[in-house]
Amino acid sequence: MTQVVEKLQPWLAAIERRPRGGPRWLQDLRDRGAARFAALGFPTARDEEWRFTNISPIANAEFLPATEAAPVTDHSLAGVVYSDAPNRIVVVNGRFAPQLSRVSALPTGVRVGSLAAAVTEHADVVSRYLGQLAEFGTKAFTALNTALAVDGLYVHIPDGVVLDEPLHLVFLTTKSGATLPIMSNVRTLVVGGNRCQVRMVETYVGPDGGRYFTNAVTELFAGEGAVIDHYKVQQESLDAYHVASMHVHAARSANVSSQSFSLGGKIVRNDVVALLDGEGAKCTLNGLYLADGERLVDNHTAIDHAKAHCPSHEIYKGILGGKARAVFNGKIVVRQDAQKTDAKQTNRALLLSDDASINTKPQLEIFADDVKCTHGAAIGQLDDDAIFYLRARGLTYFEARDMMIHAFAGDILDRVMIEPLRVALEGELYAQLAKDLAEIDAA
C-alpha cells in the first residue's frame, strides 16, 4: 500500500499544481477531478475494467504536464493524415495553436476553437455541458484529465445548421526539450444542436516520435435529430501511451456514428461510451486497429440503450502481428424502458503471428423483454482454404494473403464517408501492414 502511494506521489504533486483561475464552476470541476483521482489512484489488474491491460508503465513513470506549446511549423503536420482538410483546428501539447489552424467560412453561430477561450467567451454553453458526461467520479484517467486539462477544443453547432465541410481536430505532441517525457491532458467538447449536421475527425499524432502520454477526454452531445459523423484517428508515436475516453449523449432521433482507427501507440486504451437517451436515437461504433511488436491496444465500448426504438451497430476489427496484444470489451446495456432495441455487435481479430493475442468479451445487460441483441466474435488466422483457392487461380501466397488482409481491413475503411480521409487512412494502414508482413516473411 505504501508503495502504491509512493508511486502515486508525483501524480498527486502534479494535481496539486493543477491549473487555477477561471470561473468558479471550472475551478470546482477541477477540484472534484483532483479529489477523485487522489481517492481512486490508478486502476490495477484487479479492476475488472483493466484486467488485461497493465498500465503500470504509465503509472510508474513520471511525466511533465506540458506547459507552453513548443513552436511548431506546418512541416510537423506533413505526416498527419488528412492534414489538408479545409477546416483544420490544431492543438499542440495540450494547447490550441491558432497559427496552425485554419477554418473556412463557417455558417453563422458555429464556433470552433480553443476550449480555454470558450470557457469565458461561451460560458453559458460550456458550463452547462463540460464534465456532464465524462465519468470522472469513477474513472481515474478521466479524473486526472478533469483536474489537469489546460485547454482543448470546443465545437458548437447551433440548431439546424448543416456543415458541408468536415472539421479536422488535430492533437499534436512534439518533442518539448523537457527532461521528462510530457503528458498532454486534452479535452474536447462538442455540442451539436437539434437537427444539426456535422462530420468531424479527431487525430492524435506524435510526429517527432518518442515516449509521451496523451490523456484525452471527449464529450459529444447530439441534440434531437442531429446527425454527427465522428472519426478518431490514433496515430501516436510507437513509444507513446494513449488513454482516451469519448462520451456521447444522443437525444431523440439523433444519429451518431463514431469510427476509431488505431494505428500507433505503445499502450493504447480507448473507451467509447454512448448513451442513447431519446427514442429513435441511433448509434454506430466501428473500429479498426493495427498493432505489432509488443504493443497493446485495448478498446472498451459501452452503449447504453436508455430509451425505446434505438438501433446500435458496432463492428470492431483488429490485425495483430508480432507479440502484440489486444483487448476488446463491448458492453451493451438495454434498460427496462428501452423496448424495441436493435443492437448488433461484431468483433473480429486477425492474428498474423502465433505470439499475438486478444482477449475479447461481449457484455450484454438486458432488462427489457422486447429487444433484438446479437453479438459475435471471431478470432483467428487467415483461412487456409481461401488462401488455397486464390493460389489455385494463380496468385502467389503473398498476393493471396495481402488480398485477404486488405479485404479484412477494407470492410471498415469503406465505411469512412470522408473520401480524402479514407484514402489517407488506407495509405497509412497498408504501409504499416506491408512493413509488418515484410518482417514476418523475413523471419
Binding site: Y389, R393, G394, L395, E399
Partner: protein, 253 residues
Amino acid sequence: MLDIKNLQVTVEGKQILKGINLHVNAGEVHAIMGPNGSGKSTLARALAGHPQYEVTGGEATFDGKDLLDLDPDERAREGVFMAFQYPVEIAGVNNAYFLKAALNAKRRHQGLPELDAMEFMQLIKERSKLLDIDQSMLSRAVNEGFSGGEKKRNEIFQMALLEPRLAILDETDSGLDIDALKLVASGVNAMRGPDRAIIVVTHYQRLLDYIVPDYVHVLSGGRIVKSGGKELALELEKKGYGWIETGAQPVGA
C-alpha cells in the same frame, strides 16, 4: 499433355490413391467416375496442389514438367485449372478485382501485357454471356452469398477467362438443377478445343449427357479399375458401381 504414373496420395495419414496411371492428350475429354470415397476428388485436388493432399509416391508431368514440384499458384499460371467442388467464399474480396488479379498474374507469367480495367471489362462482358453471369455477381465478394448454382457457374466463368490448357472439373455437377447443369455444360463445351484437355470428375452419368467424354475411367479403392469409351458411363448408369467393385480386376494390380 498430362502423364500420371503410379500416383499415390495420402490425406491426413490415410492413403487414398494407391497407384493411379492416366495419360491425357491435348484435345481430349476424360471422365473420372466412381463411387463415393473412391478417390476421385482426391485425384483432382492433388493435381491442383492442395496442401492437405500429400503425394507419397509416383509422378505427374504436365507438358513434360514435373507438376508435383510446382506450388499450386505455379501450376495455375502454367495452365492447370481446377473447378472446385466447394468454391470458397472469400469475404471482402471483390469478385471482379480477384478475377483481374488472377488473369493478370497468368498474363505476366506468359510474358503478355496486363489488361487494364477497360480491356478487362470488355473481356468479362464477352465471356459472361455464355454462363449467364450478371453484373451483380461480379461486384459481390468472391462466392459470398452465391447460390450453389451461381458458385459453379462462377467456377466455369473463371475457367473461360483464364483459358487453362488443362481443366479439371471436380464434381461441378453436384447440386445443380437441370437448367444450371445445361448452362455449365455449354460453358465447358465452348472451351473444348484441340489445345485443351478436360478432366471431368463426376459421380453421376447425367453430366456426361451434356459433356460427352472421349474416355471414361472408373476409380475404385484408389485405383483406376476400368477404362473405356463414353459407353462405359451408360453402362455404369444402368448397372451401378457394384459390378465394377466386385467383378473387375484392378488395372495394373
